[in-house]
C-alpha cells in the first residue's frame, strides 16, 4: 500500500495550484483581506507610535522624572540611605534650606551683582547629564542657560560668587571663584541657577548659619554643641529683695523664679547649702536655659554674694553595664568657700562650651575607682554619644559628679545629635539632617509609585504625575479603542475568509470529488480549504504590510512638521509583527474549518454523477 501521507503532501501543491488558476478570485480575496489587515496595522502603529512619541518626549526630559518636596522639613541621613535604595529611584541628593541656597554672583561688565539659586548636585544627576552638562567637581559649577547669559560666562570661565550672612547684627561676606564646568540646555530651566557639589552647598549653608568652613578659609563658629540646662539654682546668704527677684525674670530668658527648700537643692545637686541660705530656682518654661540666660542673671546680681548653679535633670549615663544619674557641678574656690562645699577639681562655670580634652569627673568612692583612670561613658540621646572621662577624684555621693558644661552638652544631645570626636577630643554637633532633596525616578513609569510612596510617608511632594497619568489614560483609551476596532476588523476578515472558503469548496465540489475518486481520503481533502485559507492569509498579510508601510509613510509625512528627527507617529513595534502574523494565520485556520468540514462531506459518487 502507498504511504498514507503521500496524498497529504500533495494537498498544499494542489491548493496553491487552484488559487493560482483562479488568480482573479484569489487577488480579490487577498485585496479584501489586506483591506481589513492594513487599517488595523495602521491603527496599531498609530496607537503605539503616538504613545511612544509622547512618552519619549517625557522620558527624554528629566524634568518629568523629578519629584520635588513642597515643604521644608528635616530628612535624616538614614532617610536618604533608605530612599536611595527604593526601586525606581534613579538619583537622590540632599538639598539645603531654600533661604540659604542662594549665592551672589558678580556680573563682569560693571561688577553689578545678582542672586542666583544654588542647587546641590552629585554624580549621576540626570538634570545635568541629560542637558548637555557634566557633573561639577569641587571648585566647579554648572550654570543654567539663563545664569550663563546673565553672568556672561561659558564653560572654562571663572565665576565670582559672594556668600553673605549677618552675625551679631553685622553683615559678613566671603568670596570664592568657581570654574564654570558646563552650561545646561535651555530646557533644564528658565531660572538663573548654579549647580555645585553638595559639599560646597553645605559649606554655604553652614556659613550662612554662622559657622566656619575651615577648608575654604571662611571664618565663623565651629559647630560645637552648646550647653543647655533645665534650670538654675540661685543660692545666697541673704534673701533677695522682691524688686531684684522680679528683675531676674525680665529679659534674662528665665520666665519664673520660685523659692525652694534645702531638700530640693539636695535632690538636684546631691548636697545642701548652709543653714539660713536663701534658695531660689530659676525656670524657663518650654525652652532650655542657655549660657546667655545665665550670663544675664549674673549681670543683674552684681554686688550680691551668690552662687548660680545651672542643672540638667534626668541625664543618665552608663559605664559598661552600670547606669548612673550624674550631678553637674562646676564650683570654683570662692563659690565653694561661700557654700562650705569642696571646690571641684575643674574651674567654675565658664558659661561657654567646653574646650577640647578628656573631661574630668568625680566618681563615687563606693565604686572604688582609680584616680587618673579613664572611663568610657555612653549617654543616650537623639543619637547615642560615647565619650571618655578621666577620674579626677572621688565623691561621697552615690552619683558621679561631672562638669556642669558637660552635663549641658549631654542635655543638648538629647535634642540634637552630638558626637565626640576622639581626634580633637571635642564634642561636635552632628549634622541633624537635610532640609530637602532632589529626587529623579529612573523612568517616568516609576514616578507615580514613588510619588505615592513619599506621600504615604507624609512627605509632601510634587511631580509631573498628571502628565504621566494623562499619557497612561490615553494609552489605555487608545488600547480599548484599538481592540474594539480590531475585534470588528477581525470579525470582518474572518467573515470574508469563512464565506469565501466555503464558497470555494462549493465551487470545487466536482474537483474534490475527483480527488476523492483518485484516492484522497476524507482527512486529506479536509486540509484543502485549510491550506487555501492559510495561503490567502499569508498573501493578505503581505499585502496588508505593504499597505501599512505606504499609509504609515503618508501619515508620518503629513505630521512631519510636528515631529522631531527620529520621531514617528505610526510605528509598528517589531515584537508585534510575529504576533499579528501568527494571530492572522491562526484565525485563517479557524475560519477555514467550516469549509474543511464541508469538504469532508462531499460524496464522490454523487459528484461524479452530477457531471
Amino acid at each position: 500500500m502507498s504511504r498514507p501521507d503521500s496524498p497529504l503532501r500533495q494537498v498544499p501543491l494542489l491548493a496553491a495550484a487552484h488559487l493560482r488558476h483562479e488568480w482573479i478570485l484569489t487577488l480579490c480575496l487577498v485585496v479584501a483581506l489586506a483591506a481589513v489587515i492594513a487599517p488595523l496595522l495602521v491603527l496599531l502603529g498609530l496607537k503605539h507610535g503616538t504613545i511612544r512619541t509622547l512618552r519619549e518626549r517625557l522620558v527624554q526630559d528629566p524634568v518629568f522624572r523629578e519629584i520635588r518636596p513642597t515643604q521644608t522639613r528635616v530628612f535624616s541621613p538614614q532617610w536618604f540611605e533608605d530612599v536611595a535604595a527604593w526601586p525606581g529611584v534613579g538619583f537622590l541628593t540632599p538639598t539645603i534650606l531654600p533661604l540659604s541656597s542662594v549665592v551672589t554672583v558678580v556680573l563682569p561688565p560693571d561688577r553689578k551683582t545678582a542672586l542666583f539659586d544654588l542647587i546641590p548636585t552629585a554624580a549621576g544627576d540626570p538634570l545635568i547629564l541629560e542637558n548637555g552638562g557634566i557633573v561639577p567637581e569641587d571648585g566647579q559649577v554648572v550654570l543654567t542657560a539663563e545664569a550663563a547669559r546673565l553672568a556672561g560666562a561659558g564653560p572654562g570661565d571663572d565665576l565670582e560668587v559672594r556668600i553673605t550672612r549677618t552675625r551679631g547684627g553685622r553683615g559678613e561676606t566671603v568670596t570664592d571663584r568657581l570654574r564654570v564646568a558646563a552650561v545646561l540646555d535651555a530646557r533644564a530651566g528658565s531660572l538663573p541657577r548654579v549647580y555645585a557639589p553638595l559639599a560646597f552647598v553645605l559649606d554655604v549653608e553652614a556659613y550662612k548659619e554662622g559657622y566656619a568652613a575651615p577648608a575654604r578659609g571662611w571664618p565663623g563658629e565651629t559647630p560645637r554643641p552648646y550647653p543647655s540646662f533645665d534650670g538654675a539654682l540661685l543660692l545666697l546668704p541673704e534673701p533677695l529683695p522682691p524688686i531684684v527677684r522680679s528683675g531676674l525674670v525680665i529679659n534674662t530668658g528665665f520666665g519664673r523664679m520660685v523659692e525652694i527648700g534645702r531638700e530640693r537643692v539636695r535632690k538636684l545637686l546631691g548636697r545642701v547649702p548652709p543653714d539660713g541660705f536663701a534658695c531660689y530656682e530659676l525656670l524657663a518654661p518650654a525652652s532650655p536655659v542657655t549660657p546667655s540666660s545665665l550670663r544675664a542673671v549674673e549681670q543683674k546680681l552684681r554686688g550680691y554674694r551668690r552662687v548660680l548653679l545651672p542643672y540638667a535633670r534626668d541625664i543618665v549615663v552608663s559605664v559598661g553595664e552600670r547606669r548612673f544619674s550624674p550631678v553637674g557641678l562646676s564650683l570654683d574656690e570662692a563659690q565653694a568657700a561661700l557654700l562650705g562645699w569642696t571646690a571641684t577639681p575643674w574651674p567654675g562655670l565658664s558659661g561657654l562650651s567646653r574646650e577640647g580634652g578628656v573631661p574630668p569627673c568625680l566618681w563615687p568612692a563606693a565604686e572604688s575607682p582609680a584616680v587618673g583612670e579613664t572611663l568610657q561613658v555612653l549617654a543616650p540621646g537623639t543619637a547615642e554619644v560615647s565619650f571618655p572621662v578621666r577620674v579626677a577624684g572621688t565623691t561621697a555621693l552615690d552619683r558621679p559628679v561631672l562638669p556642669v558644661e558637660l552635663m549641658g552638652v549631654l542635655r543638648t544631645a538629647t535634642q540634637r545629635a552630638v558626637t565626640f570626636d576622639p581626634a580633637s577630643q571635642t564634642f561636635q554637633m552632628a549634622r541633624g539632617g537635610y532640609r530637602g532633596f532632589r529626587l529623579y525616578a529612573k523612568t517616568i513609569d516609576d514616578v507615580p509609585g514613588l510619588y505615592r510612596r513619599l506621600k504615604d510617608q507624609g512627605v509632601e511632594v510634587a511631580a509631573q504625575v498628571e502628565a504621566i497619568e494623562r499619557i497612561r489614560i490615553l494609552d489605555r483609551g487608545l488600547s480599548h479603542l484599538f481592540w474594539l476596532i480590531a475585534v470588528l476588523g477581525v470579525c470582518g476578515g474572518t467573515g470574508v475568509l469563512v464565506s469565501s472558503l466555503y464558497a470555494a469548496v462549493d465551487r470545487l465540489r466536482r474537483d474534490l470529488g475527483v480527488l476523492r475518486l483518485l484516492g484522497f481520503a476524507r482527512g486529506h481533502v479536509f486540509f484543502f480549504p485549510v491550506v487555501q485559507g492559510l495561503i490567502l492569509a499569508a498573501l493578505g498579510l503581505a499585502a496588508g504590510f505593504v499597505g501599512y508601510a505606504a499609509l504609515a509613510e503618508v501619515i508620518d509625512h503629513s505630521f512631519a512638521m510636528d515631529l522631531a528627527p527620529g520621531e514617528a507617529f505610526c510605528i509598528l513595534p517589531g515584537s508585534h509583527v510575529p504576533l499579528v502574523c501568527l494571530s492572522t494565520i491562526a484565525l485563517a485556520g479557524l475560519a477555514s474549518l467550516a469549509a474543511a468540514w464541508r469538504a469532508t462531506g462531499i460524496d464522490p459518487a454523487e459528484v461524479i454523477r452530477e457531471q
Binding site: 500500500m1 502507498s2 504511504r3 498514507p4 503521500s6 496524498p7 500533495q10 494542489l14 495550484a17 487552484h18 493560482r20 488558476h21 483562479e22 474537483d511 475527483v514 480527488l515 476523492r516 475518486l517 483518485l518 484516492g519 484522497f520 481520503a521 476524507r522 482527512g523 486529506h524 460524496d603 464522490p604 459518487a605 461524479i608 454523477r609 457531471q611
Partner: protein
C-alpha cells in the same frame, strides 16, 4: 489469456438499495467477477444501475448488503476484503486501495481544470509517493497522440483529447483495475471507437483489467472478455429491481 479461476474482483450476493423521493431502486448482483488483465463490459439502458455498479466497484459507494466482495490486485497475495472494510467504515484503507490499484475514466474525462495535462496525468502517481518517469509519460502520451498537449491546460483540449488524457491518467501509475464510466458518451461514433480501442490496447499493454460501462453494446462486444447486463423488474408502483447477470456469448 486471463486466469478465470483467480478473479481480481469477486462480488457475490450484493444488494444496493437507493431511494429517491418515494421511489426505491434495488440493484442485485448475484455474481460478478473480473479476471486479471481482462476487459469486462457492463451494458444496459439508462437507469438500469450500470453506474451504481461502477461506483460500488470503485469503492466510493457502500453496498447495502454483500456476501463477498474481494479485490486481489497482486495474486497470489491474499485478497482485500472490501466488504469488511466497508462494514468497519475503514475509509482510509478504501481510499488507499483506490489510489494504488485503481484507475478511473469519467464520462467527460474528470481532469482537474487547475492542473496542466502533465500534472493531471502525474497526480495518481504522485499521491502514491512516486510519479511516472518523464520518458514513460512522454512515450505513453506519444502513443495516445497527446505529446503536444502535455503542458496545456485541460480547458484548451478537445473532448477527444481530454478523454485520451483521462485514459492516460487512469493508466500511467500502473493500476491493476481501470474503471471507465461511459468514456465515449460525449464523442461521435468514429472517435468513440478509436478511444475504446486505445483504452483496450493500453490496458492490455499495461496488464490492467478494465471494467467499462457503456450503453453502446456494439462498441465493446468484439473487445470484451466478459459482458454483464441487467434485467429490470418492476416490483411495485414505486419499487424497481435490477439484477446484473453475465450475457451468454459475451463471456469467454
Amino acid at each position: 489469456m486471463p486466469h478465470m479461476n483467480a478473479p481480481m474482483v469477486r462480488l457475490e450476493g450484493l444488494v444496493k438499495t437507493r431511494s429517491q423521493n418515494e421511489s426505491v431502486f434495488e440493484l442485485h448482483v448475484p455474481d460478478f467477477r473480473v479476471a486479471p488483465g481482462s476487459m469486462v463490459a457492463v451494458v444496459g439502458e439508462s437507469g438500469c444501475g450500470k453506474s451504481t455498479l461502477l461506483d460500488l466497484l470503485a469503492l466510493v459507494m457502500a453496498p447495502t448488503r454483500v456476501d463477498r466482495f474481494e479485490i486481489a490486485p497482486r495474486p497470489p497475495a491474499p485478497p482485500w476484503d472490501a466488504a469488511a472494510l466497508w462494514s468497519r467504515g475503514d475509509e482510509s484503507s478504501l481510499a488507499a486501495l483506490r489510489r494504488e490499484y485503481f484507475g478511473y475514466v469519467l464520462q467527460t474525462g474528470g481532469l482537474l481544470p487547475f492542473l496542466s495535462v502533465r500534472r493531471n496525468i502525474e497526480l495518481p502517481g504522485a499521491i502514491n509517493g512516486g510519479r511516472p518517469s518523464r520518458r514513460r509519460l512522454e512515450a505513453l502520451a506519444r502513443d495516445m497522440g497527446l505529446e503536444s498537449c502535455l503542458d496545456r491546460m485541460p480547458s484548451s483540449l478537445s473532448i477527444g483529447q481530454r478523454q485520451r488524457a483521462a485514459i492516460l491518467r487512469a493508466l500511467a501509475h500502473g493500476p491493476r483495475l481501470v474503471l471507465a464510466d461511459e468514456p465515449t458518451a460525449a464523442v461521435d461514433k468514429a472517435r468513440a471507437r478509436t478511444i475504446m480501442g486505445d483504452l483496450h490496447r493500453l490496458a492490455r499493454e499495461e496488464g490492467a483489467a478494465v471494467v467499462v460501462v457503456t450503453h453502446d453494446t456494439d462498441l465493446v462486444m468484439d473487445r470484451a472478455d466478459a459482458v454483464y447486463s441487467f434485467e429490470l423488474e418492476v416490483v411495485s408502483a414505486v419499487a424497481t429491481r435490477s439484477v446484473c447477470r453475465p450475457v451468454a456469448g459475451g463471456a469467454p
